[in-house]
Amino acid sequence: MSKNTDWQISSPLQVIQQRAFLLAEIRSYFADKKVMEVETPVLSSASNTDLQIEVFNTQALVAHNKSSFLRTSPEFFHKRLLASGSGDIFELAKVFRLGESTRLHNPEFTLLEWYRLNFDMKHLMQEVVELIQLLRGQFGLNEMPVSVISYQELFSNHLNFDPFDVSDEHLSRLAQDAGYHGPLLSRTAALDFMFGVQIEPLLNDEVGYLIHDFPIEQAALAKPHQLYADRCLRFEFLWGGVELANGYQELTDADEQLRRFEDDNLNRKLMDKPVLPIDTRLIAAMANGLPECSGVALGIDRLLMCLLNKQSISEVMPFQASNS
């Protein structure tokens, strides 16, 4: 008889039942709001160009391509659906991002992504909090206090400087004083450092943080801010030091979107990272008319981890990179 126990799942059955319950609650929430569930492809001929996301690739889907890519989010397909007149939609999507398995990351994970027509960023932020509070209730937790705070306020409250009014030199010195060691950081990377290493450990674990109006360099697919050219309509939701959700009031300008993707690839080249095929069908859909909307992606494994007060997503995943 083999003593191999490798086949066994790595989280208790009870957690699997709790995941099923969570997914059912989410589906019922969106059914009540008349948001339609959709399914979109896992494999795509085009790729996400984001500098900080590493994409899996595999054999080509169609003969004339070299390879195809596993989606890092269903966003591009969702926008093509929205441009086709789908109305409000959501998906519970398996997505893939290369990277080490850590407390908060597994290369394959589940995102809840949803889009709301004619919602501005603030409106969608409210809906994220409403859903989280509802799910907390279903999991026997009290309503949590939520702090709505801009990226600028977050920095000035915790580190006493304005991220939009600090010179590159000063920012670089602040990072070094805070223990950064290595080659000069770009402005964006230095802010990421201050955010992740300096600010996040200072946040209250019992409070949910809705952080909004990120620097325009971190806009990705978000609309620029109406009043401040250096900011964009992007938000994140943090709970217990964990980034649970990332949302945008969506950019609808196809030319601007194409320019950002091309910039990504330019920077990829500079950083010796592979240049990736831009999703021209998404750009064409936007040029045809993406309706005004806001959308957000929420990590389901992280959410379940927080709801069950676990320390690592591996505790809520029966199968992970190490045993799948």
Partner: protein
Amino acid sequence: MSVYNTSQFKNGLKIIFNGDPHNIVDNQEVKPGKGQAFNRVKMKNLITGRSIEKTFKSGEKVDAADVMEMSMQYLYTDGEFYHFMDPDSYEQYEASPEAVADCIKWLKEEDICTVILWDNSPISVEPANFVELKITETDPGLRGDTSGGGGKPATLETGAVVQVPLFVPEGEIIKVDTRSGEYVGRVKK
């Protein structure tokens, strides 16, 4: 010289930082949102013993420190340097007073200890967790007092001073925990 990528960082890895060999004691990956990932590292300078915390950009490379731990026998001091020997190869190593530091107060000749070598020369020495040493000087205790309630200082053959119970006499061999510097018990010979 070999290098490590931050993705290879783990506790116990020896790297060169600011020219000195360091031992990683804690490594945490920090990834803010969709942004740049970092490795936040706590490490101990193997020469000075000081701990520091530094953050590296994930994907950066650092030089590996050619650091080795070896069991060696302490031979003698010539007044300036301390001499150790690898009992397998009989190869001898010379350590500076800075490398031996406080450890010397637990070492008597022929004792086995751990010597840490960097590029093949000793940078620090660690005594065994428990050593057995003779008391060379202590006040006469109260005969019959075995309650262990009080204590008195005792000087050992290596010069170290430890607190021992009142009933332990001069000339006795005792066992000491070198990590805490505390008396453990008498050694029956």
